[in-house]
């Protein structure tokens, strides 16, 4: 279900960034509302990390405007306190223990020691690092370091999380756990922007998706909108004897937008339903129609386009342009 949007907490307005002759970001615009999970996907080198670094204020000389809770970094330098950031390529000073690193980051974020003493165990449990609190960072595995990155990002309870490839380097169990953590954080009204070049990462948890390619945001929308746009509506593929002959009467149904036949296979029909109508009602009426007309079907398949198809369409369009 698509929830109603509240005031945006992140506004990215026509932001461009060049590295000498390379246009890393071109007129990028999007917004994220409270409690949203914005999945930011694109191939490697598309401009995802640049976008995120601009958002957290690490890159400052760009054009366009970035607002967090209505303020730019210049207007209110303290907006960064509202953000928790998990960078993609970042190291820790490895002589520190997990606990020492979190205490330092917490104090630098403005937390007080007493709060940290309570918060650190909570956060470590949330990311699954509770047994590593006293361990030196140099003795952590890659996956554990990734979890520590998330721990430092959520430590000060920021209302906005900016996660750059948060699931990379994690084993399947940890990926699943972290996706659940991200989901549960968004349920507490935390707004999350997370980037990935793997579609599977954003599928199922993102409320909105932005696709970036060659520094340009080529599409923004919620997953259903993106799928609908690709197919032009919901598609049902059916198989039965000589169904092609029934194409005209199916086409006349009021909830059907289009019927396609396959010249090589007279037994299949592809029915495109009108996207504005309720999908469940349309499917019920379609099945009623076949049973009342005694049309026997050997297969009835509702085709849900995958995000991968959507992604590939936009990315490949950009590559061929």
């Amino acid at each position: 279900m698509i929830k109603e949007k509240s005031e945006p907490v992140i506004e990215f307005l026509n932001v461009s960034k060049n590295y000498k002759e390379i246009e890393a970001l071109k007129e990028a615009s999007f917004s994220i509302s409270k409690g949203d999970i914005f999945g930011y996907i694109g191939p490697n080198g598309a401009g995802k990390s640049t976008t995120l670094k601009i958002l957290v204020g690490l890159i400052r000389n760009h054009t366009g405007e970035v607002k967090i809770n209505g303020f730019t970094h210049k207007e209110n330098p303290n907006v960064n306190r509202l953000i928790g950031y998990l960078p993609q390529d970042v190291g820790f000073q490895e002589w520190r223990t997990v606990d020492h690193a979190l205490v330092t980051f917490g104090l630098l974020s403005g937390m007080v020691r007493e709060d940290l003493n309570n918060r650190i165990p909570e956060v470590l449990e949330l990311v699954g690092l509770q047994d590593a609190r006293k361990r030196k960072i140099k003795h952590l595995s890659g996956g554990m370091k990734q979890k520590l990155k998330l721990a430092q990002a959520i430590l000060h309870n920021p209302p906005i999380l900016v996660l750059d490839e948060p699931l990379s380097g994690l084993d399947p169990t940890s990926r699943w756990q972290l996706k659940n953590t991200i989901k549960s954080l968004s349920q507490t009204d935390v707004s999350i922007l997370f980037s990935s070049h793997i579609l599977e990462d954003v599928e199922g948890i993102a409320t909105d998706i932005g696709i970036i390619n060659h520094g340009q945001i080529v599409k923004v929308g919620n997953p259903q909108e993106l799928r609908d746009e690709l197919t032009g509506g919901n598609v049902v593929n059916i198989v039965g004897i000589n169904l092609a002959k029934k194409a005209d009467i199916v086409r006349d149904l009021k909830f059907v937008q289009e019927v396609n036949t396959d010249p090589d296979d007279p037994n299949t029909l592809s029915i495109v339903l009108i996207p504005e109508l309720n999908l469940d009602d349309c499917l019920l009426q379609l099945m009623d129609f076949f049973s009342s007309n005694e049309i026997v079907l050997s297969n009835f398949n509702y085709v849900r386009p995958t995000l991968e198809q959507v992604y590939l369409k936009y990315v490949m369009e950009g590559d061929s342009a």
């Binding site: 690490l58 890159i59 306190r81 953000i83 950031y85 190291g91 330092t104 980051f105």
Partner: protein, 221 residues
């Protein structure tokens, strides 16, 4: 707590825990005492003079190398991104690192000096009066020159991406620049060597650190 103080305390703890600083605080004073006994020409010299200056000069160079290699490594690993997204200024990172190393070095120098004094007192050769003043002046001049070496090491760590190159240059340039604080005062009788080295040490350190901060402010992420 103020970000600078927090970073400074943190960096100091980091250096204090590192094996290199342990070597500097314990190994070098012992080495300088051993060297004293191995070198018959210094037999009449107080050990405290030798240990203090030895640690200040070797330690200064070592610290410059540590600073440059640490900066190259930590900048390369984007370690400071996690600081800069918090209310931490870029200059605070540089200044805290520099001060932490200088404090560690000064502790090392005074530990060596104290160790030398203990041996001197056993030998009944504790420097007093003008000789003690000479010892302390020499140590202060050595600290002034190592301050320049450390600032140079830090600057090189900020502008160079290769650890090997940064280390080589900080050894070479660190040595050359640190002489600026000492040589004119030693060679020219009209200059007070102590105050000259203090003045030049502070001025050169400030200029080099300011240049480093400027470079880091301009750095693109």
């Amino acid at each position: 707590m103020n970000s600078l103080l927090l970073l400074l305390w943190d960096e100091f703890k980091g250096f204090a825990k590192s094996k290199i600083m342990i070597a500097l605080w314990i190994g070098l004073p012992i080495l300088s005492i051993i060297m004293h006994f191995l070198q018959p020409a210094t037999g009449d010299f107080p050990i405290s003079l030798l240990t203090g200056i030895f640690v200040a000069s070797v330690g200064g160079l070592l610290a410059a190398v540590i600073l440059s290699s640490t900066m190259v490594n930590e900048l390369g690993a984007n370690v400071y991104d996690l600081y800069l997204i918090r209310p931490v200024k870029r200059w605070q990172i540089i200044v805290s690192k520099y001060i932490a190393v200088m404090i560690s070095l000064i502790i090392a120098v005074f530990l060596s000096f104290a160790a030398g004094l203990i041996v001197d007192s056993i030998r009944g050769m504790v420097p007093t009066g003008i000789f003690l003043r000479f010892v302390l002046d020499s140590i202060i001049m050595a600290i002034a020159s190592m301050s320049i070496a450390c600032a140079a090491g830090l600057f090189l760590g900020l502008v160079i991406k290769s650890v090997a190159l940064a280390v080589i240059l900080s050894i070479y340039l660190g040595q050359q620049l640190s002489l600026v604080a000492i040589l004119p005062g030693v060679l020219s009788p009209s200059i007070d060597p102590l105050w000259f080295s203090i003045g030049v040490g502070i001025a050169a350190t400030v200029v080099i650190l300011a240049a480093g901060i400027f470079v880091y402010q301009k750095k693109q992420f």
